[in-house]
């Protein structure tokens, strides 16, 4: 019986193809909107998480900030040294400076970032090499003209397929030897330096040749996972306030970013935003359900005579009810499926447009589909009930 009911419903839907499509449009838009919003939300979260985790885990990033319009004192090697030696749990502390230059090689040139960073820094930030080797401590102390190039720099000015190792690269007026190529870390969508478009040289080399001072712009602190990040952060603040001679009551003129905390905060924020937008989209799904109910009521009125015929030839009330209910549910399920299809197109398209990764989430797809089926039952029930309650004599007389 149920198979036949399903067949009758499908036939009925095919008979009014345009109307059926327009009826389900509400569901289609609702499902597509919910899934697209959630998928994009997941994508944004994933991209931000990736960006943050590219900074390394169990890592603090410390940099000076302006307080009360007073330029803060820069950090120097001694500060980094003090943090490394005086705070329990800290395994690494490494400073870095950033500058920029035009890189020349073999008649090609490329505007890029120049970063001064030692091996310690690379380790703390989990920056890996795909070719070559990192700087040795001797090279770092000596401030040798050696460099590690980012994948974008390699692509821009080096010959594909030929190793750049050992080649002489000129940055403005400084010539350096390429000894390594960085692995791709993915361009972080947001502002800031592209981590793939950079040339890294030993800290001392960049300080001497590019920034012209011993200052350190920021430094990273890596700690053991077993230690409580809050305690380490507190010790860092105490130590740095003391070294920077900050009187009690004055604000910190430096900032400590905890990557784990940032990650949590961003995830929570994008999660809340996604939930809100999805909730708004869910309202359109509800409106779509009401549309289904409306058209099913019209359909029952329009097909009163048909219902009369069915009852006269022996259909039971519950069979008529099942038929109309099935029709509503089938309509909603079709709407759900088409909506999922649209959502797939829309979210891949938008993900490309917004430069956000496309993260397929099966849960939300299945949930939306089930939700639309439930809408079909909810909003199909009343019209179906009405159809089954019709008096066959009255229904047959209906024009």
């Amino acid at each position: 019986m149920f198979g036949t009911t399903l067949l009758i419903s499908l036939r009925e839907i095919r008979r009014h193809l345009l109307r059926s499509f327009l009826t389900t449009l509400g569901i289609i838009i609702g499902v597509a909107a919910v899934i697209t919003m959630v998928t994009l939300g997941r994508g944004v979260t994933a991209s931000i998480s990736e960006e943050i985790s590219s900074l390394g885990s169990n890592v603090f990033i410390i940099f000076p900030v302006t307080v009360d319009q007073r330029a803060p004192a820069p950090f120097d090697a001694a500060d980094v040294e003090a943090v490394r030696n005086q705070i329990a749990g800290v395994t690494r502390a490494a400073g870095s400076v950033n500058s920029s230059a035009t890189a020349f090689y073999n008649g090609q040139y490329w505007q890029t970032g120049v970063q001064g960073a030692n091996s310690d820094f690379l380790t703390a930030q989990s920056i890996e090499l795909v070719e070559g080797r990192p700087f040795t401590p001797q090279e770092e102390i000596a401030g040798r003209n050696l460099c590690l190039i980012g994948p974008k720099v390699r692509e821009a000015i080096f010959v594909p397929g030929v190793t750049p190792l050992g080649e002489q690269l000129r940055l403005n007026s400084v010539v350096c030897t390429v000894i390594g190529v960085l692995e791709e870390r993915g361009s972080a969508g947001g502002g800031g330096q592209d981590p793939d478009d950079v040339v890294i040289m030993p800290l001392k080399t960049v300080q001497r040749r590019f920034t012209g001072s011993d200052d350190i712009q920021y430094f990273v602190v890596k700690y053991e996972a077993a230690y409580d990040s809050g305690l380490i952060q507190a010790s860092l603040i105490d130590l740095l306030r003391e070294r920077r001679l900050l009187q009690p009551g004055r604000d910190n003129d430096f900032n400590i970013i905890d990557t784990a905390q940032v990650n949590d905060a961003v995830s929570a924020a994008t999660g809340a935003l996604t939930a809100m937008v999805a909730a708004i989209a869910a309202i359109s799904l509800l409106v779509g359900g009401i549309g289904i109910m409306n058209i099913m009521l019209v359909s029952v009125t329009e097909r009163t005579r048909e219902i009369g015929i069915r009852l006269a030839i022996g259909a039971l009330a519950r069979e008529v009810q099942l038929q109309f209910l099935t029709e509503a549910v089938v309509l909603c399920c079709f709407g759900g499926l088409i909506g999922i299809g649209f959502a797939l197109l829309l979210s891949t398209g938008l993900a490309g447009l917004l430069d956000v990764p496309f993260v397929f989430d099966p849960t939300i797809n299945v949930l939306s589909f089930l939700f639309s089926a439930v809408l079909g039952i909810l909003f199909g029930y009343y019209p179906a009930r009405r159809a089954s309650k019709l008096d066959p004599i009255e229904a047959l007389r209906h024009e």
């Binding site: 009758i8 048909e306 009852l311 030839i313 022996g314």
Partner: protein, 238 residues
Amino acid sequence: MSVLPLIELQEITKIFGNGAAAFQALKGIDLTIEAGDFVAVMGPSGSGKSTTMNILGCLDVPTSGVFRFRGVEVQALDRDQRSLLRRRYLGFVFQGFNLLARTTALENVELPLVYRGEKKAVRRAAAMNALDQVGLAPWAGHSPAELSGGQQQRVAIARALVTQPDVLLADEPTGNLDTERSIEIMELLTRLNATGITILMVTHEAEMAAFARTIVHFRDGLVNRIERGVRAAERSIA
């Protein structure tokens, strides 16, 4: 063999509405119909013939009185039980044909079997057989809109036949047809009656009623007169 008459109406009344607006459509009908009869119900508008047919078709219940169908007291059955009775024993033919639009003749004829839960192959075969009986097998794939009025009514008759009912109820089956088509339909009903199906037909055309074996005349909610065994005589004259 048959001790019980197929249909027995005793003191049937039907009142529509209530209070001051109440209208008594049937004022006490007594009628017995034997299996295999061909009954024409005649009478002016408002005489209660349609109300009686609705009760006989188990579509409506009397306000009082007893309606026995094969010995079962129908007035005591609920809606679904009456549906099952219709499904099992009754076939309906209407004045307006009442076929499902945009559905082929074959699918229309199959419909009652769908509710009987028959398998597709069984339905198909039985429906083709019924269409063949009414001479419409070649039109099985056509929709009602593609058929003439007479053909549509024959599809409707095939639909009523397909379940091999005991009784075929026809409410003004020729009301929308010209004389030639009407006579075709009446001849078809006569043939079916000859195979043992009891036929109850409402009509106001004496010419069509003449095909019946028994003619029941209604007037003002009562059975006015019953003519039995009239058909043979009139047919031989014609």
